[in-house]
Amino acid sequence: MKKIKKIILGIGIILALIILILPAPEGLSVQAKNVLAVFILCVSCWMTNVLPLSVTGLIAIVAIPLFRISDSKATFAYFGNSAVFFILGAFILATAMMKSGLSKRIAFLFLKRFDRGPRTLSFGILITSFLLAFLMPEHTVAALLFPIVLEIANSLNLKPLQSNLGKGLFLSLAWGTVIGGVATLLGGARNPLAIEMLYETYQLKITFLEWMITVVPLATVIMVIAYGLLQLLFPSERTSVAEAQQSLSRAVQAMGKMSRAEWKVAIIASITIFAWVFLNAHIEVAIIALLSAISLFIFNAVSWKDIEQYINWGIILMYGGAVTLGATLADVGAMDWVAGHLFNQMKFTHFTAVLMLSCLSKLLTEGISNVAAVATLLPLGFGFADSLGINPVIIVYVIAVQSGLAFCLPIGTPPNAIAFSAGYYRISDVIKGGIIMNVVALLVFILFFKYYWGLIGIDIN
């Protein structure tokens, strides 16, 4: 384990123990004090990855009844929250899309339309990964497109670390999936997690369509800027991509006609997406996701063995633990107390508060998993919202969206790591562009927050 990780973990454990041992200060209940200790312990584990994220989720579930913060019945009840089942249903749908070959077909057919030149090819990879991440988890999209982009780079004989086009293609893959991942509830599991934490804390809902109306325009603007920046930083050394054209044509031909399994998955996925977008006001997204998953089995489009091979079930523990911890922190008023003591001394306006939370989310997500960043920052953000009178819905968008937009380090998100592992660009290449993209994403976000969200009815207060 790296030294810095040992230090963070050590500080976390010591701090948690001190808080547990010391008497509760005035204005803070014993339960609130103890849940803060559990929160600090979990955050230090999430930051250091000393345990798998899901096992840390279990710590939260065990520690809350153990330290008599809440009874076990109430604790386990949070565990069965709808975000977990939504994510499960969405992952099962993504598995069916991958296993049937439908997602690959969509990717090839999309890319085939952009094979006229190096610039259009780069844009094609960016927009294909961006749009696929609307439908599937961003990690899955990156893993799916990775061999295709590698094949394109090989067909063009692009030299790793030397070819600007190679750098541009792999960064298009990484950035496209990262940006697309924030646009819907399907791209990143952190989005439904944040929505569930909002519901458990305030009984406020954000529907699938509301999320898209709020975030898709913002993500689209960032994606277009990313394309411009990649062209600027890595202008292609080639003028033709004829070999890639041939390679894509061969791949499309090799796929042949759509199979029965692909048709089944395509029809179920289309109905599911329609229901998520237009019927969410009447039916919960989790119910729709589970109905979709059940339909896939009924129509024999996917087998349980496939699901076991394609999904890490630890996800249930991670999300269950995060929601349980967040909701308990709110129930016992722990974060209100922290926010009151931390932030009352500082004179924050609503704007500076949003800016600060955005920067904090961005910084944290470059170093730790973005799901862990949301689980860590959202309870704090809610406390902040209460003490300053900010609409908590705004806090959800600030933290979930900014935590998803990690452009710099390969450690930030799996799509960045997957693209980087191809070896076509250096860390210095991605840091240069990534810092600019982080600033751009922050500025675009602030512009949308100030001028667009009010228009669609999101009130800051």
Partner: protein, 154 residues
Amino acid sequence: MKKVLLAMSTSGYSPEAAEYAIQAARQQKAHLICTYIIDAEIPDAVSSWLIYIGFMGDEPSKEYRNIIQKEYKTRARETLAEVRQLAGKHNLYMESFILQGQLVAEILKLAKEIKASLIVINKPNLANFSRFLNGTNLNELKKKAPCEVKIIGE
């Protein structure tokens, strides 16, 4: 007879390092031994992220590893062929190995086995990333190597 070990890996190769090793082998009248190490650290780390952070199952993670390892092997063969051609221009015979594992550990193992008199390595382009993940770096190689280590680009 002395042996010059040119170590290359998925983390980096430069013609300068090859040129340096060839010249050193000629000057020392030594054998040139080339190794290309397929660095397992990066695919290992990425596939474990896919499982523990991306919550993807074994299958996509295995598929990713197979693809990246196939790619790395192709690159290894191409790079060794490039160096062999370069050595051939200087009428120098070259032995080559493709190894798989952790960069520094594999170099040390081979250097001891062949009793290398000099190790030539290019400063890895992915060194920072590798170090970030596993705490390994070329200082360890310098410290533990049984002979002189020349790092090109340092």
